[in-house]
């Protein structure tokens, strides 16, 4: 893309897990880029590698079983995979930060929320005392936590689920990161609270020009927030393009099936279109295309070799034999 300089560029990232069952290729050659202020949604089922991709960006892959084998992760031009651990620590929580799925478990019950929000500010920006307290109150009120000055002395159990998820948001945004990774941040929230939270994220993104990577399995969240979509299946991005393109012209049968198998609230189907079979077992992938066993349009060729990446239209790529034009 010729647009602005990308904030983040990932090239051919491979993260493997070495286990007794064999090598699991959790992330297998993933490439994408993200402009400042842009939102990318990474969509996939459990086991598709979307969460491991997120962890790789922070270099938090659980070692020694998991390792980033090769690839480059360029943050504002700098390859963070080449950094020393102590330099990487300076980036985590300050330039790249993350909101996790479940605020019930991601917050420490033994520390007040003020302590937890302040930790990153203290470590990265070396402030303390009254200045730190002021910064914490500011971070909390940015996430619209009412009476932040007094609530910062509360503990996580004194807050509701939606409030706790805002606290994790305040922690992640406390050092004004350039990139926010949100791993299913709203799945444990109620519908009306989810709507509040997404609205809040969108406001903050616009105000501070943060880039966001949304990890999700819900195309509703994609439709509501993302500029770009990457659909992952068995460790690979099988389709990527702008949100409108993906919704209007899905090129990969998996994307198409995912879009169609959700019950819609605007009309009533007599029967849902379902995807047969199970999500893939990474230790036991078929030769050829890994979606072939569940694909309604699988051809002989699909069982023989993995399809190459094809550009369907400008900026819209897919890995499917159906999209490959015969020479």
């Amino acid at each position: 893309m010729a647009g602005p300089v990308p904030l983040l560029e990932v090239r051919d990232l491979k993260t493997y897990f070495f286990t007794r069952r064999g090598t699991l290729k959790a992330v297998d050659g993933v490439s994408f880029s993200l402009a400042p202020g842009e939102t990318l949604a990474v969509v996939g089922e459990s086991g598709s590698g979307k969460s491991v991709t997120a962890l790789s960006l922070l270099r938090l892959v659980p070692e020694p079983a998991g390792r980033i084998i090769e690839g480059e992760i360029l943050l504002e031009g700098q390859d963070i995979l080449k950094l020393r651990p102590r330099d990487m620590r300076r980036i985590r929580g300050s330039r790249i930060s993350m909101v996790l799925q479940d605020p019930m478990t991601s917050l420490n019950p033994a520390f007040s929320i003020g302590d937890q929000v302040g930790e990153a500010v203290r470590l990265h920006q070396g402030v303390g005392g009254g200045e730190l307290r002021r910064r914490v109150a500011e971070a909390l009120s940015r996430l619209k936590i009412p009476s932040a000055e007094s609530r910062m002395f509360d503990y996580p159990h004194q807050m509701s689920g939606g409030m706790r998820q805002r606290v994790s948001g305040a922690i992640a945004l406390s050092c004004q990161p350039r990139l926010l990774i949100a791993d299913e941040p709203t799945t444990s929230l109620d519908v009306t609270i989810q709507a509040q939270y997404m609205e809040l994220l969108r406001e903050i993104q616009e105000r501070f020009q943060i880039s966001i990577i949304f990890i999700t399995h819900d195309f509703g969240i994609v439709a509501a927030t993302a500029h770009k979509v990457a659909v992952m299946y068995a460790g690979k991005i099988v389709e990527m393009g702008t949100t409108e393109e993906i919704f209007d012209n899905p090129a990969h049968p998996y994307t198409e099936a995912l879009l169609r198998c959700v019950p819609r609230s605007d009309r009533l189907e007599a029967r849902l279109v379902d995807i047969p079979g199970q999500p893939p077992d990474l230790a036991n992938l078929p030769s050829g295309c890994s979606f072939a066993p569940r694909c309604p349009k699988a051809m002989d060729r699909c069982w023989e070799a993995y399809p190459p990446e094809v550009e369907v239209s400008p900026g819209h790529v897919t890995k499917c034999w159906l999209a490959v034009k015969e020479p």
Partner: protein
Amino acid sequence: MSAQTILEGKGLRKHFPVTKGLVFNQVTGWIKAVDQVNVSLQEGETVGLVGESGSGKTTLAKLFLLLERPTEGTLRFYGKDLGQFTREDFARYRQTVQAVFQDPWSSLNPRMRVATIIAEPLPRETPRSQVKERLAQVLAEVGLSLASADRFPHEFSGGQRQRIAVARALVTYPKSIILDEPVSALDVSIRAQVLNLLKDIQQRLGLSYFVISHDLATMRYISNRLNVMYAGKIVETGPSQDVYSNPLHPYSQALLSAALPLHPSFRKSRIVLSGEVPSPLNPPSGCRFHPRCPLRMAICSELEPLLEEAAPGRLVACHAVNKPDFATAGAAATDRG
């Protein structure tokens, strides 16, 4: 329609005491988890219950499953009151009303083989040959192979585990199944499989379902009648299609509008509610929704609205809907007062 009513709850209340102190256990307050709820379930129909966490929907399911007894109100089973149940009635009830829970990772005992899990609800004196035969039938019903019977739950994926849970519910020839968030723990691609399976089984066996969910689209796909619950009360009830196409209660409207868009071009302005679901320990006075309600009037904080017919077959508990004219609402308040 001559469909029989299997379950009927009238004026159901479930209040939990909040206690303080170890020795004397002083009761310091009551959590009104379910308050004055009327629900019924007829043969062959699917009744849906939507609401957010803390609205009391799971407590209501527990009342139906006899895991909790109502503090007040009556629960009738084919017309017979729960208070007059004999031992045989209880046994029959538990065979007729079965359950499938949300999370198939915690609802199946990891140390039991699938055969044991599924056969557990059967009466102990059932001869072995019959158990085996029934096992084969229900496994076929949910689309699992007979070989699954000798395996353990961890050998199955989420969708298959939920099939095992459905098979366990089917084994006693039930008339109705209480489904508490049956697909929300599953992967998107698997949800459709399980929903289709549930619909197929319902048609084949003539079951009735009582489905609890916070996912509105799933609810629309599966249910005939819908109840919307808020802070322990049912605020709207009616045929699902009508409630979806034209929600009347402001909470139902906000709930439907908060649902995620289906296409990026529908990034409409949504009704984003401020605030959160109130604490059931100390619910707001009057209408429990009034602190968050966009249509709030003066009367709403004083008088609790009753569930009244707002359109044919549709009941709504809202002053703004039932008495659009404030003067009439005030008059009604003095009448009742």
